[in-house]
Structure formats: C-alpha cells, structure tokens
C-alpha cells in the first residue's frame, strides 16, 4: 500500500516536472518571435504616416516621402503570382491526390518536392532567363512569374495532403448516392478539404509577399509610380533591402517602417484565412 502511494507521488511529480519543462521550452521558442515583433514595432511605428503609404520615396537628404509605389508593386506582383500560381498549384495538388498514384503522378510529386527545396534566388535567375531575357527588360510580370514558380510546388504538396486527408468514406457515401465521379471529387471531397486549401493558399501568398531574392533579378526596382506590368517595378522587400543597406539613418528608419507594413500585410492575410475558413454551420466541429 505504501509502495503504491509513493509511486503515485513519483508519477505526479514527473507529470508536474514535464509540464514545467514544456512551458519553459515554449517560452524559449517564443522569445525570438516576440523580439522580432517588438523591434519592428518600436523602430517602425514612428515612421508610420498617411504619406508613408501614398508618397514616392524621396532622394537622400530630403525629409518625408513614402513607399506607396513599392506597396502597389508588391500587391501587383503577388496578384500576378496568384493568378498564375494558385490554379496551377491547387490543380496539381488535386490531380496528385485524386489520380496521382501512377508513374506520372510520382514524377510530378518528385519534381514538386525537388522544386520546393530550390533556393528562391535560383528561381529568380530562372525567371530572369525565362521572362526578362526574351522581353529585354525587367518587369512586374517577371517578378510575378518568379513568385508563382515559388508558390506552385509547396501549394501542390499541401493541397495533395489536405485532399488525401478527406476520409474515403465520404467519397463512398457520395458515389453510393449515384453522384458521378468528377462531381464527387469537386463537390464532396474538395469541398471538404476547401478550408484547409484556402489556408494553404493564403500562407503561400504571404510567403510570396515576403520574398526578396527572386525579385532582384526580375522586377528590379523603380523610384516612380508604375502601373505597367511590363516595366520594372518596386516592391516592399527590395525597398527594405535598399534602405537597410544604405548608410543613412533616415533610410534605416524607413526600412523598419516598411518592414512593419509588410508584417501588417502578411498578418492581415493570416487573419483573413481564419475568417474565411470558419464554418458557417452551427454546431460544426
């Protein structure tokens, strides 16, 4: 009886100890995240103003100015990347999940895995060769293509996993109702996976919005407003890079503020994904 009691105490102690260890590890992991947020907010918030969103960058020495063109440029290039990348990425993922058990599927899956491991700067060079060279100049289009190439493999793999997670019993239930195969895939299987796919898309978009390397050789930069997708275009990330490596304090502050804007854009995408994927049904689990 005594023995049983002490072993119970021992187990309780181990349980407590492990809970404390887990909490500490969580804090350690949380510190870098918090410090990034803290630094960006404290150093960047001072520069936030209406002008910062609407003005063009000013030359060195002049006060004020903003990153309006870079914000528009990033949004435009992400939009181009979405138009090209989301359908291809999601489509490839659905194909892999539904029909991808043969040689073609395995080849595509292997390629997607290799491609998702390729450093983004290499993808920038590829987009340079594919789009910039034939066009003869840098462009938002080339930047969008680079970002799309970056999105497709990860999106395809994520979509495949999400579609495969849908229980086969739902597919069977639909087929047993006499629903054709393609409709079962579209309206039951993919619809069930849809909330996950939307999240995967928004995360891919957020990742693309934060890329710098693939844009350096493709969209280059632009000091002026540009609404022509065939012309060189500014982006938040390249602008941050240029400001950060400059020797001027004013530009350093601008780099922090632009970073904060980028964080806000990405954060809003994440919130949007939460809201969009919330179930409309009462009592849904």
């Amino acid at each position: 009886m005594m023995n049983l009691h002490s072993s119970f105490l021992y187990r309780k102690m181990v349980d407590r100890g492990m809970a404390v260890v887990c909490a500490l590890l969580f804090l350690v992991a949380f510190i870098p995240l918090l410090s990034v947020l803290w630094l960006v907010i404290t150093k960047g918030a001072a520069g936030l103003s209406w002008d910062f969103f609407t003005q063009l960058p000013k030359p060195v020495g002049e006060e004020g100015g903003g990153i309006g063109n870079a914000l528009i440029g990033t949004l435009a290039m992400v939009a181009i990347a979405c138009v090209l990348g989301l359908p291809l990425g999601v489509g490839a993922g659905v194909y892999l999940a539904e029909k991808g058990d043969g040689t073609i599927g395995n080849t595509i899956r292997f390629m997607a895995e290799v491609l998702s491991g390729v450093p983004s700067i290499v993808i920038g060079i590829v987009a340079y060769a594919l789009v910039v060279k034939p066009m003869g100049h840098f462009s938002a289009l080339a930047g969008g293509v680079a970002l799309a190439i970056l999105m497709i493999p990860t999106l395809a793999r994520a979509t495949e996993e999400l579609v495969r997670l849908v229980p086969g019993s739902l597919r069977e239930a639909s087929l047993a109702l006499g629903v054709p195969n393609w409709k079962t895939s579209m309206r039951v299987v993919i619809r069930t996976a849809m909330s996950g796919i939307v999240t995967a898309c928004l995360l891919a978009v957020a990742r693309a919005a934060g890329e710098t390397a693939p844009l350096i050789f493709t969209a280059l930069n632009n000091q002026y407003w540009n609404f022509d997708p065939r012309a060189p275009t500014a982006s938040l990330t390249v602008q941050i890079y240029n400001y950060a490596i400059s020797p001027y304090d004013d530009w350093h502050t601008k780099a922090w503020t632009a970073s904060l804007v980028l964080l806000l854009v990405v954060g809003m995408l994440n919130v949007a994904s939460r809201v969009m994927t919330r179930s409309r049904l009462k009592g849904a689990r």
């Binding site: 019993s169 597919r171 006499g178 629903v179 619809r191 069930t192 179930s279 049904l281 849904a284």
Partner: protein, 283 residues
C-alpha cells in the same frame, strides 16, 4: 423506380409488421412466380491475386430482408459492395459473374454505375454525413449533387420521418450534420440514402457503432422500410439477423455456405459449419 402510390397499395394489404417466420420466409424464397429483385450468379471478386468472393449465387425477392452473416474477413462487405459496383474504384479489384437487378445485369457493357447506384442505395458501417453540409443539406445531397434543383423540403421531411429522426432534428435542420450523436448520424445517413428513392438498400453493419437504443431504432426502421424496399444487410450480430431478416446467408472464407429462411438457418441449418457458427463454436 417504384411509384410511391403503388408501393403504398401493396403495403396496405400486408400485415403491419411481417414477422420473420419460417413459413412466410420460405414462401418468399421459393415463390417462382415473382421475379427476384436481386439475383447473383457465380459472383467472384478478386483483389489482385486474392480471391475474396468465390462462386456466390443467390437471389433476393422484392420487399424482403436478407441478412448476410459470417465471421470477420469472410467477404460479407465485399459481397454487398459488389451489388452497387463500389469495387469499380478500388485499384486491383476485379469482379466476375453476373448480378441482376430486375433482370438486368449490372456488370454488362453499357451499364452506367452512376445510374445504377441511384437505384441501389447503400448505408455504411460508420456514419459518414458530409461535414460541410447541414442536416437538411445532407438529406438533400443525393438530389442537389445530381443537379436536381429547387425546393426539397418535402423530401427532406419525408426521409427524416422514415428514418425516425425528424422529431429530434426538425428544429435544427441548419446545424451541421456532424453535430449529431453517432446514432442520429447513422439515421441521417439512412435518410440521405432514402432521398434518392432507391429500390434496393444495402446496409453494411449499420448498427455496429451504435448503442442498444439506437440499434433498436434502426432495426425498427428496417421493418418499416421493408414495406417498400428490398434490403440486404450485413451484420455481425446473429441476434440482429434473427430479428430483422426474412432470409439469412452464411458466408465463410469468401464462399456462400448456406442460404435459407432465417428461422431455419438459426434452428435447423443444413450445413455443419453454419451450425457451428450460429451456436458460437467459432467466429
């Protein structure tokens, strides 16, 4: 499809609940005047090299319940899944032989499995309501997914009533189908299967995941559905087979060992293996 009024006319002449007595069942089984609703001739199912169903032949009369019993892995589920061509999508599965529904061979060329499945409905072992749909949408799914638009209120209410679920869910039709309890979900799945008005209903251990009360409700339901539908039910429970069925088929290692009126299978089987199984000597 059977027009509903005709089915009602037929049921009104019958006793309210057809008891699975040997006499009644025997006449059903041997009555050669009526064409069997489902007739299986020399059915074989293979999964690659595994010969899962071996030379099965049997027939089921309209408006009767056939229970399929046997130990785990004997091919009960494989057998009834062959009756609405669910094996078509399983890689490596091959079906040989003939399955006639109303005299038409399901596996003949030119038969569209999609149209067939609208006539031969299926209820699965685990409740599988569509998680993205409400209770209402789940019941109407067979219609809406097949492109039948418009208002399905009447169908939804009728099917939910038939499945003995209406009173429990009528005030929350817009709630998620998955918000119901397991037994309610299974009755929801039965309502969903009924909404496409199948003529044959296949049930693969529909009560195996349910508690005794939900099981009793589903068995009661089977008695009522028999008035209109032909039912083939796979069950692990011999008591359940005895309670709900007119005829019973005993499967063992992929073969049909014996089929006959339920009372006879349980009290006086012809085969030794059937007797050993129903008396609990193995399985």
């Amino acid at each position: 499809m059977i027009p509903a009024p005709a089915a009602h006319a037929m049921t009104s002449e019958k006793p309210a609940v057809a008891l699975p007595t040997s006499a009644a069942a025997a006449t059903v089984l041997t009555d050669e005047a009526t064409q069997p609703k489902v007739e299986v001739k020399d059915l074989n199912v293979y999964f690659r090299t595994n010969h899962a169903i071996r030379h099965v032949s049997l027939s089921v009369q309209p408006q009767t319940v056939l229970a399929v019993i046997g130990p785990s892995g004997c091919g009960k589920s494989t057998f009834i899944r062959a009756l609405n061509r669910m094996h078509d999508l399983v890689p490596g599965a091959r079906v040989e032989g003939k399955v006639y529904v109303d005299g038409k061979d399901l596996y003949a060329r030119g038969i569209d499995p999609v149209l067939l499945r609208r006539r031969v409905g299926m209820v699965f072992q685990r409740p599988n309501p569509f998680p993205t749909m409400s209770i209402y949408e789940n019941v109407a799914a067979g219609l809406t997914l097949n492109g039948i638009g418009g208002n399905h209120h009447e169908t939804v209410e009728r099917c939910l009533r038939q499945a003995a679920l209406w009173d429990e869910v009528k005030d929350r039709l817009k709630h998620a189908g998955t918000s119901l309890s397991g037994g309610q979900q299974q009755r929801l799945c039965i309502a969903r299967a009924l909404a496409v008005e199948p003529e044959v209903l296949l049930m693969d251990e529909p009560a195996s995941a349910l508690d005794p009360i939900a099981t009793a409700k589903i068995e009661e339901l089977i008695h009522e559905l028999k008035e209109k539908y032909t039912i083939i039910i796979v069950t692990h429970s011999m008591q359940q087979a005895a309670r709900v069925s007119d005829n019973t088929a005993f499967f063992y290692l992929g073969e049909l060992i014996e089929i006959g009126p339920t009372a006879q299978i349980f009290t006086n089987p012809r085969e030794r293996r059937t007797e050993d199984y129903v008396t609990g000597k193995f399985g």
